[in-house]
């Protein structure tokens, strides 16, 4: 439900013959003097508005001791400003027919509001107010700390796959802040200091570090008038510090084991992978689809259908600002020897390195990319998300309209070469959760 941490945002964008009404010329971009960027698209199908604010901040910008703080601030954004006390944001929004959510990733934090068009001005006032006005009331802060601890217990400690995933990530990534998961380490969650939280907020929650995307039932001139009215007086902030750490090349395979009472094992294998803007990204994405997407994928067929070692497989590559991971997540059958799973994946990867993919696998990936492009365009929230995502990862919404091109340019030869380049023994980290205790 609300305010989910999402560790990996895997989505595809592409350009295609576009539906009437959602073309580059149907979108306008505006910038205020304080650096705030606004992307607008009028869509009058339903009397509602999707108002999304993206900040260029996530776990990537954190440091030891403050892990998880981006996500914590996301929660605190609903917990009180000078003008609106704790809880007022939600109370006012819901009483006016609106609802909201928010999410934090490695690279971005997004605030998503959905409300009837008639509520527009009130809602803009609320959003502008919290961009710089949070008070971090000490008592509220402590209560919210408990919420986050509960979220971590639910999402990590009582979820074996995520527990293993966190361990594998920390083993594969040594130096870069992607080392920790978005939720942060429990000891950090329990000990963040209020003044450090506020300093982090001041650094990253500035208009020049944000982009607002609005899609829905509004008039562009009118909404810009309101946005200027409420945001123009917010001062430009300092330039957020760049993330300078570069993950050093991995020089040998890594292996981690988690032992825990459980009825079923877990298995995850990862390789360092290219960032969203890397020219290798689309071809690696195609590889991910061929290997892991759908029941026709190579690894579903091998591990679930043929060898019957697993209940399910998932994974692939996700968009990220800095290089992250290509993931193979396998849900083994109870009692399965996970070494067999590892061996089978290795064999399938070797096949691709030697023989490449079939032409029909490339075509399948392109069809999938087209579906993933059109599906979100059915809704105002889907459009708002795609526009914002494009802004964060590619520096501009325009990318949406040419995102298909690099996929169309992917060749079988390129895919084969990249399989060799990335799926190497030295670039690999394997994690296994071994059930122990009375369970079988």
């Amino acid at each position: 439900m609300k305010r989910l941490t999402h560790a990996l945002i895997i989505v595809l964008l592409l350009s295609l013959p576009l539906a009437a009404g959602f073309r580059s010329q149907d979108i306008t971009v505006h910038k205020l003097d304080n650096g705030l960027k606004i992307v607008l698209h009028e869509d009058h199908d339903i009397p509602n508005i999707a108002y999304y604010t993206f900040f260029r901040v996530g776990s990537r910008n954190e440091r030891p001791g403050l892990t998880g703080v981006s996500h914590f601030i996301e929660h605190m954004m609903f917990n009180g400003t000078q003008a609106n006390g704790p809880g007022q944001f939600d109370r006012i929004m819901e009483a006016n027919g609106g609802a909201n959510n928010a999410f934090t990733g490695e690279d971005l934090t997004g605030y998503t509001n959905w409300y009837p068009a008639a509520a527009l001005e009130k809602m803009i006032a609320l959003d502008a107010d919290r961009m710089q006005g949070l008070i971090f009331d000490p008592q509220v802060l402590e209560s919210e700390r408990g919420v986050i601890a509960s979220e971590r217990r639910m999402a990590v400690e009582n979820n074996n796959e995520n527990l293993l995933s966190e361990t594998v990530r920390a083993a594969a990534i040594m130096a870069h802040p992607y080392h920790w998961d978005v939720i942060g380490w429990m000891s950090d969650i329990l000990s963040w200091k209020r003044d450090e939280i506020i300093a982090y907020y001041r650094t990253f929650y500035s208009p020049n570090n944000a982009v607002i995307v609005v899609v829905g039932d509004f008039q562009t001139a009118k909404i810009m008038e309101l946005i200027r009215k409420y945001y123009a007086s917010i001062p430009r902030g300092p330039e957020p510090p760049a993330v300078l750490t570069v993950e050093p090349p991995q020089l040998g395979p890594r292996r981690v084991t988690v032992r825990k009472p459980a009825q079923t094992p877990e298995f995850i294998m990862v390789f360092h992978a290219p960032a969203a803007t890397d020219p290798d990204f689309p071809a690696m994405d195609v590889l991910g689809m061929a290997l892991l997407q759908g029941e026709s994928s190579r690894l579903y067929q091998r591990l679930v259908a043929r060898d019957q070692l697993a209940i399910d497989v998932s994974g692939g590559i996700g968009m990220s600002i800095d290089p992250l991971l290509f993931t193979f997540t396998v849900k083994p059958r109870p009692g399965t020897d996970t070494a067999l799973i590892e061996k089978a994946i290795e064999e399938e990867l070797e096949k691709i390195k030697k023989e490449g993919l079939a032409a029909k696998e490339l075509q399948k990936a392109l069809n999938s990319v087209r579906m993933d492009f059109y599906n979100p365009l059915m809704t105002i929230s889907g459009k708002a998300y795609k526009l914002g995502e494009s802004e964060i990862y590619y520096g501009g919404y325009e990318h949406i309209f040419k995102a298909m091109d690099p996929y169309k340019a992917v060749t079988l030869k390129q895919v084969q070469e990249l399989a060799g380049k990335y799926f190497s023994e030295n670039n690999k980290t394997v994690g296994v959760l071994v059930p122990e205790g009375g369970a079988k």
């Binding site: 439900m1 109370r91 408990g146 986050i148 009472p261 069809n367």
Partner: protein
């Protein structure tokens, strides 16, 4: 992005959306020669088509063996019309399309989505799966084993497990106590012959309703249907599907499922509710919005916002034909579960005794009305709505009427819902957690029957 572990928690509930006039575009309705009813809406905004189909009666509540309906549904995709399971998967995935078949409680669901240019091919595959499933012994065995394994995986996840245990605890031997994913015992005894017999008995065009929405013109649709689902042969009429009298909790039904490694305790609480389309729906939706249906609800305010006890709590009405239940759900760390349940029961008592304020009722009305339009934005949601409204006999303008009623709900009506359905004496409460650390906190509620999470079944 992670795929959910494959234990389907099937519930017949539909979030009843509400809105102004003509909230749902009016589709065309037709009937094929073999009795198949078809709803059709042309929408050319995007080059996409969504098809949804519902087969009345082919749901988990009417299956002779627990988990059979959903296993049958899944197997329909595992080989058909001379194509193997791998080939069918390849045929679907090569289009970038989605095709799923699963069993809900009262019916079977088919869901197909694709690019408009692939509609005919996808419908051909879908019809092959429905009309000529292979039901091979080999695929049956794989699927059965996969489900047995998935039950174990579900028990490793207490948030998922608590809902399965609750369903069993509330409904017992009533057909709605059937878990869509089956149980260790039921799956252990299941045979492929049962699947074939079930398919023959419950699947037929006379019981089916299809809805298609998207970028396809009427002529083309008719051609495609004539070549695909139009060829579905009528079979002997399926047995009448009606649910027996719902169980109503008398006294407290208390279950504690011991999961010794859990660092958080999860609870599910249930009271009786009402059936789909019941007159009380409008008032109930307002009441639930306030009690546990949104972020500023009573439950979330007290458990999360004020005390930081949990990340998530919510309540909802689940409805089937003729009856339903009311559900409350949350979790907290082991040493706080007693406090969490105390507060939950205090809120139940307060709602029952004092009811809600006029101002918050107005807020709830606005919230429900304001959040309605996006619920029918996409093609699949429109198609699904036609089927649901048809199945429950509510009429295609149901949402408009419901909305109208919601906009007039006042304190008296909302309070009546709480007064009628909440109880401090008669309910079902299931807790999954580490017994050693939570039993003492639960003792004041009453005596819990203790189950081990590692034991077979639920």
């Amino acid at each position: 992005m992670k795929k959910a572990i494959l234990v389907v928690i099937s519930a017949a509930f539909v979030i009843l959306p509400l809105h102004g006039a003509n909230s749902l575009p009016t589709p065309q309705k037709m009937k094929l020669g073999n009795g198949l009813t078809v709803y059709y809406l042309q929408d050319r905004d995007l080059p996409l088509v969504a098809a949804r189909m519902l087969v009345k009666g082919a749901g988990t509540a009417f299956e002779p063996a627990e988990g059979l309906a959903n296993l049958t549904a899944a197997l329909m995709l595992k080989g058909a019309a001379g194509r193997s399971a791998a080939q069918v998967a390849e045929d679907i995935d090569s289009l970038g399309a989605a095709l799923d078949i699963s069993a809900a409680d009262e019916y079977l669901n088919l869901s197909a989505s694709c690019l408009a240019e692939h509609f005919e091919r996808l419908m051909t595959i879908a019809a092959d799966c429905v009309l000529q499933p292979a039901f091979s012994s080999e695929e049956f065995e794989k699927e059965r084993q996969n489900r047995i394994d998935s039950l174990k995986a579900a028990k490793d996840n207490p948030g998922q497990a608590v809902r399965l245990y609750f369903r069993k605890a509330y409904f017992g031997t009533h057909p709605l106590g059937h878990l869509a994913g089956g149980t260790d015992t039921s799956l252990g005894a299941m045979t492929v012959d049962q699947v074939i017999a079930y398919y023959k008995k419950y699947l037929g065009p006379q019981q089916a309703v299809l809805a298609v929405a998207g970028d396809i013109d009427a002529e083309k649709l008719k051609q495609v249907l004539n070549r695909t689902f139009g060829k579905w042969q009528q079979s002997a009429p399926a047995p009448a599907a009606s649910l027996p009298q719902f169980p109503v909790p008398r006294g407290k039904v208390l279950i504690l499922v011991d999961k010794p490694d859990a660092t958080q305790a999860y609870f599910a609480l249930g009271f009786p509710g009402f059936g789909m389309g019941d007159e009380i729906s409008a008032a109930a939706q307002v009441m639930n919005t306030l009690f546990g249906g949104r972020f500023t609800s009573w439950l979330n305010t007290e458990l999360r916002i004020k005390r930081g006890l949990t990340y998530n709590t919510n309540s909802s009405f689940q409805q089937w034909r003729g009856a339903g239940i009311f559900n409350v759900f949350s979790y907290t760390k082991n040493d706080k579960i007693g406090e969490m349940l105390d507060i939950t029961f205090e809120l139940v008592a307060k709602a029952k005794k004092e009811g809600f304020g006029e101002e918050e009722i107005q807020s709830a009305r606005n919230y429900i009305l304001g959040q309605f339009p996006p619920t029918l934005e996409n093609l699949g949601a429109k198609a699904r709505s036609y089927l649901t409204l048809d199945f429950y006999g509510l009429g295609l303008n149901y949402y408009d009427g419901l909305l109208e009623r919601i906009s007039k709900i006042g304190k008296a009506q909302a309070d009546t819902v709480a007064a009628n359905y909440f109880s401090d004496q008669d309910y079902v409460l299931v807790v999954v957690g580490k017994a050693e650390e939570i039993s003492a906190q639960l003792a004041k509620i009453g005596e819990f029957k203790v189950k081990q999470i590692t034991a077979a079944d639920f």
